[in-house]
Amino acid sequence: MNIVVFIKQVPDTDNVKWTENNNIDRANTDCIINPLDKQAIEAALNIKKINNAHTTAVTMGPINAKCILKEAIALGMDEAAILCDSKFAGSDTCSTSKVLSGIIKEKYPDTDLILFGQSAIDGETSQTGPATAVRLNMPFITHVKEINISDNDTLVVNQETDGYKTTYRVEMPAVLCINNYAIQPHIPSISGYMKAQDYEIKSYNFYDLNLSETDTGIKGSPTSVVKVFRNEMHRNCKMLDEEKDKNYPDFIFNEIKKVMEN
């Protein structure tokens, strides 16, 4: 079977650096594989271990996003490809899903299973996976925790959402969005890194896809960001210092009591 995992390069949002003008300093903020996409890679590799699958990692992004594909190869993926074109820049989830479904149609038409991370830490929309599935006319399941293959073309999938644990049977080809996968991602081995060093990443551009210029990038994106701002302060905070204001426990006690007795 053939598995494609779509991964995204994201800034390490836990360690963001700021410019003087309160913008994110993207050049100096480290980029990593989106954590949930790493779980999707782990899921693919786990299926491969049991069912002998061919696994491919694909990302859409700038040329330096190749580093996350190298990491995917080091982790054990068989193949890696980048979708890189200035015509893709500024894509929202709508046009991104057109590009991703486009590459499946044109270059990976025999794909049985497509995996996504549930969401990316920089956008957190959870939309790209389902939208890609719709464009490929494939069924999709989100919040997937476990995947088993029951026979050649049926998956048994465990999902965990807020209130429920659900088990599904779904026919392949299908799209699954991974969240809190049952097995933690592993760390690449030395031999994995060596393999990655020699691996030549496949590169595709706009002309490899059967799309028009109005499908991708800013032109193809129905949504656009019109304003970005850092949140303003909106409450006046009375500050207490644990070391200096020795009576703070009494003060807080009274504040909490007021609410409890209200």
Partner: protein
């Protein structure tokens, strides 16, 4: 047909009542429609064959102008394909200007499916909605890991957005008018269903629910070490409070998904929110701003959480929490 009005996904609870987010979205839509020539607010309810009288009455009380109901016993349990397909068919039949859904697991799936089918834009997890000078929807949401907030426009119709529960406040309307009810039959046999549910179990996390808690004690990355969360539970128990946490606390296994507060978790609106070791990324802040009072405990005086709190304690939570616990013994 010219796109007209606001269509809301009328998500039901497992007990077949309206989810609070539906009433919140109707309330917000009353404000939006005043800038949209008072176009109608429609709510689409999908569910099993039950009596819808109470639901319709409630929709009317909150100010919906129209209820579109699709009922079939195959719709008793949520099924992605059936629900999404029905909602998309209705959006095509009655083309709306705006589509809103709760940013719940179900609402987000349906919205993503519908947006792709209708070739339109969708903005997820909005914290505010408004109408601009040229009558377009402005969707405001945290972005970049919650470090920034963005205003987003959509140039195609319908303009779609999802909003978390408890971000907006639900209020009954003062000028109630008669709601128009449409029962819409859709032939489910035509929908190719490639997904079968083989088992569905309700999870009982054993934790106090966040949604009706008067007080919430919540832990972040700073509490994810030693006995940080054990101290949080000890304080919560003394206050009769529910325990929540940030995304980090969830990812590191200190809390369950239903306890996670923030953009990818739930939003809360308690009387008092006590943030312990939470630095205050936008994605967390956006989901707690409706709290009446916020107390923050953090050892970093520069932590953004202090900008959003009413009372801040600069100090080590491992010293502060035991002091507070002692006071309530």
């Amino acid at each position: 047909m010219e796109p007209n009005g606001i269509l809301i996904f009328g998500e039901l609870t497992n007990k077949c009542g309206l989810r609070p987010v539906v009433k919140e979205l109707i309330t917000k839509s009353r404000e939006l429609k005043t800038k949209l020539w008072n176009q109608k607010i429609s709510v689409c309810v999908i569910g099993p064959r039950i009596k819808y009288d109470d639901i319709i009455k409630e929709l009317e009380e909150y100010g919906a102008d129209e209820a579109v109901i699709v009922n079939d016993d195959r719709l008793k349990d949520y099924n992605t394909i059936y629900y999404s397909d029905i909602f998309t068919q209705l959006a095509l039949k009655y083309p709306p200007r705006i589509i809103l859904a709760g940013a719940t697991y179900i609402g987000k799936e349906i919205a993503a499916y519908t947006a792709a089918k209708l070739e339109t834009g969708l903005t997820a997890d909005c914290t505010d909605l408004s109408i601009n000078d040229i009558n377009l929807l402005v969707s405001t949401r945290p972005t970049f890991g919650g470090k920034l907030t963005a205003d987003i426009l959509c140039k195609t119709f319908p303009q779609m957005a999802t909003v978390q529960e408890h971000i907006f406040t639900a209020e009954k309307t003062q000028n109630k008018s008669n709601i128009n009810v449409i029962f819409n039959w859709i032939d489910l046999d035509k929908t190719e269903n490639k997904i079968q549910i083989t088992e569905r179990k309700e999870k009982n996390s054993g934790h106090r629910s966040l949604s009706d808690a008067k007080i919430i004690v919540s832990g972040g990355a700073g509490a994810c070490k030693d006995d940080g969360f054990s101290l949080i539970y000890q304080l919560a128990q003394r206050l009769g409070a529910a325990v929540g946490g940030s995304r980090e606390a969830y990812e590191r296994g200190y809390i369950t998904k239903s306890q996670q507060i923030g953009q990818t978790g739930t939003a809360v609106a308690p009387e008092l929110y006590i943030a312990v070791g939470i630095s205050g990324a936008n994605q967390h802040i956006g989901s707690i701003t409706n709290s009446k009072k916020i107390i923050a405990i953090n050892n970093d005086p520069e932590a953004p959480i202090f900008n959003y709190a009413d009372i801040g304690i600069k100090g080590d939570l491992f010293k502060v929490l035991p002091e507070l616990i002692k006071k309530f013994d």
